[in-house]
Amino acid sequence: MNDKKVIKEAQCQRTDLTIALAGNPNSGKTTIFNALTGSRQHVGNYPGVTVERKNGSFRHGSYNIYITDLPGTYSLTAYSPEEVVGRNVIIQERPDLVVHVIDASNLERNLYLTTQLVELQIPLLLVFNMSDVARTQGYDINTKLLSQLLRIPIVQTVGHKETGLNALKEAIVKIASGPQQPVPTSVHYGPDIERELEKICNLLEKADMPSFPSTRWFAIKLLENDDVVQEDLGEYVEDLAPILAQAAAARQHLTRELGDEPDVLLADHRYGYISGACQEAVRSTVELRHTVSDQIDLVTTHRVLGIPIFLGMMYLVFKLTFTLSAVPMHWIEMFFDWLGQSISSLWPAGSDSAVQSLLVDGIIGGVGGVLVFIPVIFFLFLAIAILEDSGYMARAAFLMDHIMTKIGLHGKSFIPMLLGFGCTVPAVLATRTLENRRDRLTTMLVLPLISCGARLPIYALFIPAFFPEKLQAPVLWSMYLIGITLSVALAKLLRSTIFRGETMPFLMELPPYRLPTWRGALIHTWTRTWLFIRKAGTVIVAFSALLWLLTSYPEPPPEKLHNLNAEQSVSTELAYSVAGRIGRSLEPVMEQVGFDWKTTTAMIGAFAAKEIFVAQLGIIYAVNDEVNEPLREVLKREFNSLQALCIMLFCLISMPCVATFAAVWRESGSWKWPVFQLIGLTVLAYTITFSVYQIGRFFEIGT
């Protein structure tokens, strides 16, 4: 009886273990992370940098294991924020174990990171992932022998098939919770370098250094001229100057004596060590023949065929997105109609209640108008996630690089721009993959010019109202085209003025083609779609309410409403409100571009989120905007096609929404950039719409 009780207690008490997951990009690290943690994961941010932080957890036996998925890196130097973040997590948080996921079909390159992890002297476990690919490529890896040579435990897995996962969990628990493991063999850098390292170590030992990582690690970093380590050392070493001087002298000496920069020399030794180990333990039985990936690449990266194939893919993506989302959109529309009516019915018919108006017109109208586009955004992001996971996106970036460089952008800028068709917010976040700050800022600043999903309600309202059926698709198409053209032109301008300078050289690994997993693609898609929904839930609700306030109060005194019909009284009420007054004061300016004061008032709302514009128009023109028909009729009466075009143009070019403003602020690190973007785009919008309107009026087109 006693035994059972003890066992039960032990089961309820779980021990916590923390581990970090490291590895090259494309090593299948994330697939393993997903397989281990399932849905128990959370994506956030490392403070102060825009690198994503992924945390998750799982249980195994009597252990709770908390995993941090470190950013994929090729090494642990200071060249990119990802690498610095990765090693900081290890150094500052000292996980119980670092699990290094390795692409077994690319062993030597992957082991490069291992040599650096070993130097951090933290418990290490190697996971040889993609062992199936390695086998088909003819590699015969004797993991037992290799493990002995490296003195690091090795587990084999096939990530996307979830093979070897249990063995992995067992190994993680055993090593992380178990006794001290044997120390892995560290790379020996040859007598000359080792001598210099020793000199630096001696100096470091005299200073008050933290015990972890070892002085040897610091010495190696100093020899590599690592900026970040130098800065960090300044924090706890009082007299850093002689140490830095010694390191500099060492670098000079070695360059002279051995003919190469220390970091190259160190790399050389690391690969030498890796080569030695692999020659013993790895047999390559088949000549590296053309894989399926190679064959696909022959076509997709073909100098002539590549781009047309790419355009074809893009067309497919958009066509599928719009086709598949039509039905769900209809459902959502019906839901919100029903919701609006049910809430309305809580009040007697014809009621003048302010709260009813706020709820139905303001919030449900505003939010419903947004959420109806979730299917479009979801399917677009799903298509993009599938393309990314399959590996095609890397080829697309490669194909686009040449053109993008001509514009002044980087090949990698293309993915944020593609995402911008769905929602600008995840697009801004996607600029993180651009290492060069200039590239990143330029891309961020021009992103709002791409017709995002929020503009669709505006187009959906105006285009059918003012253009005959034959012209409708071309007009929509041209709005997109204008956006793209302007973003290109603006990028070029920015790059030749404020952001002048060399673009980062294009350096990107093209992963082998892979069949994307549903789980991976859906997680990917959902993370981005959620951002859009969250924006709707928070920003739009808040601003819809705020705007409702601004457009309803103050109310005009009753005498003024005497003898006015419905439309006129709404008009007067609007004129009295705060927003209305602002609209009226801007009227002379906005008239020049085809707006009247009511539309201008609605535009103020559009700053919060473009989607609100339509709802605002509905309120302003005193129409129940659940059914767009009547609103369209009213608009047809009030405006001519030229003005309609100008309104759409202005909406396209100007005022990124509040959520974008916030995202740009956060990603660029300063409020100056979003403000600059806001002012710049508004000025640009005004200038272009002005020209179009005035020229149109002069030639009497569309009036």
Binding site: Y74, S75, T77, Y79, D103, S105, N106, L107, E108, R109, Y112, L113, Q137, E224, E261, D263, V264, A267, D268, Y271, L288, S293, D294, D297, T301, R303, A394, F398, D401, H402, G411, P505, F506, L507, M508, E509, L510, P511, P512
Partner: protein
């Protein structure tokens, strides 16, 4: 010769990587270092090139590729 002058599908050994501030180390961490064997997969006269290094394919911008000096194997 610079990598960009290599004929497609010919294997070559990397001799040196010219370039300052970390470019060499960066390339090394991706598998391109003096002594490694590379094969040009996609060259052309404009835009980035694609090379095969061991088990991976890497796309490199033209300027950078030009500064990787290789010696064709026989």
């Amino acid at each position: 010769m610079p990598l960009t002058d290599l004929a497609p599908d010919i294997s070559a050994r990397v001799m040196t990587v010219q370039g300052g501030r970390g470019i060499a180390a960066r390339l090394a961490s991706m598998g391109i270092y003096p002594g490694s064997i590379v094969t040009l997969k996609c060259g052309g006269s404009i835009g980035p090139v694609i090379i095969q290094v061991r088990g991976s394919r890497i796309a490199i911008g033209r300027g950078m590729a030009h500064r990787i000096l290789v010696e064709p194997l026989n």
